[in-house]
Point group: D2
Chain length 311, copies 4
Amino acid sequence: MNHEFESLQRKQVKALDEILGKLFKVLDDGFVRVIEYMGSDSSIAQAARVSYGKGTSQVHEDRGLIRYLMRHKHTSPFEMCEIMFHVRIPMDSWRQWIRHRTANVNEYSTRYSIAIDACQTTNHEQWRMQSTKNRQGSEEFLDPKAGEELSRKEAEIQEKARAVYNERIEKGIAREQARKDLPLSTYTEAYWKIDLHNLLHFLELRMQHNTQLEIRSYAQTIGQEVVSRWCPITWEAFMDYWFNAVTFTANELNIIREMASGNSEKAIQLAEEFGWVSQRADRPKRNYEREEFEEKLRNAGIPIPWGNSNE
Amino acid sequence: MNHEFESLQRKQVKALDEILGKLFKVLDDGFVRVIEYMGSDSSIAQAARVSYGKGTSQVHEDRGLIRYLMRHKHTSPFEMCEIMFHVRIPMDSWRQWIRHRTANVNEYSTRYSIAIDACQTTNHEQWRMQSTKNRQGSEEFLDPKAGEELSRKEAEIQEKARAVYNERIEKGIAREQARKDLPLSTYTEAYWKIDLHNLLHFLELRMQHNTQLEIRSYAQTIGQEVVSRWCPITWEAFMDYWFNAVTFTANELNIIREMASGNSEKAIQLAEEFGWVSQRADRPKRNYEREEFEEKLRNAGIPIPWGNSNE
Amino acid sequence: MNHEFESLQRKQVKALDEILGKLFKVLDDGFVRVIEYMGSDSSIAQAARVSYGKGTSQVHEDRGLIRYLMRHKHTSPFEMCEIMFHVRIPMDSWRQWIRHRTANVNEYSTRYSIAIDACQTTNHEQWRMQSTKNRQGSEEFLDPKAGEELSRKEAEIQEKARAVYNERIEKGIAREQARKDLPLSTYTEAYWKIDLHNLLHFLELRMQHNTQLEIRSYAQTIGQEVVSRWCPITWEAFMDYWFNAVTFTANELNIIREMASGNSEKAIQLAEEFGWVSQRADRPKRNYEREEFEEKLRNAGIPIPWGNSNE
Amino acid sequence: MNHEFESLQRKQVKALDEILGKLFKVLDDGFVRVIEYMGSDSSIAQAARVSYGKGTSQVHEDRGLIRYLMRHKHTSPFEMCEIMFHVRIPMDSWRQWIRHRTANVNEYSTRYSIAIDACQTTNHEQWRMQSTKNRQGSEEFLDPKAGEELSRKEAEIQEKARAVYNERIEKGIAREQARKDLPLSTYTEAYWKIDLHNLLHFLELRMQHNTQLEIRSYAQTIGQEVVSRWCPITWEAFMDYWFNAVTFTANELNIIREMASGNSEKAIQLAEEFGWVSQRADRPKRNYEREEFEEKLRNAGIPIPWGNSNE
């Protein structure tokens, strides 16, 4: 055996080291901070090269290799980077966050300690109306005038709930029971550790425009302030090949084929065959698949062969 | 190749089929129901026999084999059974529940639908005092007389919080935002699916006496009402070899050796060497390891060589 | 509380029950059998409806709901179905298989029992040539004439390796050590249990045309013989929206936009800007991204604006 | 909000930095090297303190806190440390290794590159006999004289298998197919990344005396050379409270109670009631539970009330 390995040094990412521990504010009283990390863009390339054996390091450079891995969903090298955050977040958003199972967590314990005395508050311009198109989303903002009333009552109920909590604590009630009627808006804190691949998956879902604004704010901060500094090549590849990529179904692709070949008549005909468009009535009847396809086309700036049914 | 496999039938567990869908009440308004399952005690034995190859089926009978697997922590055969529950549970307890990552979950969405109009309530006899020994536990109950006041105020804050929620909904606020100040005691519902090995791990932690009463109630119901019917041999082995087993550390074992050999003087001397017991003062000074050991001895009915320091 | 739940019966899938235990042959001496399962298409819809609350069961029918879930990557309801297979497979393919971590496994133990006396054999027409385009793939078949020699030597080395193994066993060497020089082609058997979502993910990767033929044969059998019977609506949706869907990167989409708008000049110009096409030389220089895009277009029957560079 | 967080520096562990990249030899041609890590003993304490809230840092010192966490199986703080290894290992041992699912892996690809030209070899003194007591273990060594013959034939079959592989490669056969008859003893390499809690779980299982010698050698190297340098307090606590701890079942504990109370007659009587001991015959009949209990007692130096049945 003749393995001549020189000793190693840990990968340092200067741009990330500079913000280590720094608090990025999110919402009215939340934050995200990086506590620790391991690996870098070059660790990803290095891990991939183990799979490919020696001698390939010359062939691809890091950037080309990382972009190749991202396009081809070779995910395991991205798992070789790891990062730990300290987050402060309303319990309601944390409920969504914690559903990502492939992570390590230490959360502030309200069995052990007095609950954090802070709730997420909403100012009068921030009340969002229920979306009429999407059952699980929000749209425009409530008239700020009307919002004032809601914000006032929000402050009231939060104050009252805290008073109830405090009274229980004073009477000697166990913290684990006293907390039971705290609002979901109560802040909690946690250490959260995850590998880069699973973090990108988290960001893909949570940076989406139809994600709830609160958790989306955290995801955007993590993506734009942290990942972009930590692994800039990976971040760019993620945006190009994953986050901003668009997937077309088998049927959608058939229609695009006709459009790209200049046969818009044939495109419309296919849509009719798929049951997406009914031209008999004065306007097309509701069809989810067609609407989703239209949205993809609109976002890409591609004209819709049968016109815009959502106008 | 000459594999002569007859066709198979799914394993049926009659005792579990009889309660399928049946609601077991937990807390004031929660429940646990079994929706589906797969496998049985005999599936576990069958899976183990794949590892051992043919011809071993005669050697061990199912019961002996399952008990052997449990004693030796051969966990993979227990993963071959799977079960799905429908649970109704306060969000606060669900926060603890969901930390068990090796499970599949579909939870009621308060983004999509109006939040369930029910909170866990506490009657005047159920208020628990903060434990003085264990920072994250509770002890005796509050005087029911004093509890009346707390229960009255609990009803008040829950009613008020719901009114705030309802007003927001009426004003057209998005459900995802309207819910933000609901109490943690608000009930949620979920489908929860898990394999038997990970379920036993859940039960081991959540049936412990120092687990919070609320989630413990769910765990006990699942263990005693469901697992005991589903896989009775496994349940018995779990109680004998896992839940009721006691682990002694290297140092504790040294002391037990002396006790079992009749050298209680030597046992005390060892405890002194370990820094557990200080006989100089009029009573031993606080030492966590000694106290934990004493508790194990007390629970097992074994006399403590240096007497009971907790008296 | 007024929860009136009737008692339940387990979901039965008749088409799957009919093949339970049935052996589907794969390769020369391998197989796949279904041993157990839990859930069905209707379980998936039911689990999704828990999230959406009551009253939605009328809105969507099962098929529409399942197709919606698949298109929108709402994966958790698919995790509510579970299946257990018995597979017999060469160790070399099992090495790839076992990399899928979200599954439960009991494998035949060659520490405990004598190794299975069968190796995967290759007949003279089945030797595959190294791909010249894809470093980790194979292409056409070797001339069968030349294959005869290789098949003969394969038989020889397998026989010899077995003789070595048998001699060690006869001399009393421990099975765990005696096996060390068995060929990777030696068959093993295992019980393998996985939920439907993770099974679909497995099939997506392993049914791909560039996956190694051996494991692809298993994946295709599982997909076409098992999943199509077990959850036919899900299987159809998987093929339409996942397996046969095509993802375009941000740049690719820009080019498609121009093509669909009839601006093929602009499309070529964009490709040049991206550095994909160099028209100066007599033929375009190698560029992975362009080649991947061309392959997507070819597969979809869409003409390539700059002509076919691979001709 | 008034969160005054100073900027942070990554935790450095000098003793580990000194051996970063250093090759620890295992077996005849294998090795283990540390490539990267994140966290330290003090990170574990810090993560635990997040759960406990502020102000507890003074109460426990790191060592006391870590030992407390280990005794009470509070595992999540240990998940906050992460480490990446480069290992070179026979495929047969890697088959066992890879069963640990909670880790990240990049393995050398024999589809992409020529297989590593090295097999694990066994010298004439290293052939182990099949255990007569444990169906899946080995015992004493074969007579070195007889071992010579086996070692000679081992070299022969390894050489022959390599020649077959080389011939296929020369004939242009795809690497993915050419490799199929390589011996399980062929070396592979991989990057393997895991958190400290799951690493300790790996070590607990793989450092056991009844684990196969090959993988045990890797586990011991990782434990003694790496973990002991990286997190010395955790390593010590692991040995005291986990690896060297002994678990007694409910029945065993009953017998120990009588022994510790000086009632050895009662202890024997209990064993008879449990069906463990049959005194009628000239020697006790075989009983697994009794034998396992006897072994625990023997290892702890505690006399067996009914004498040593294994003599």
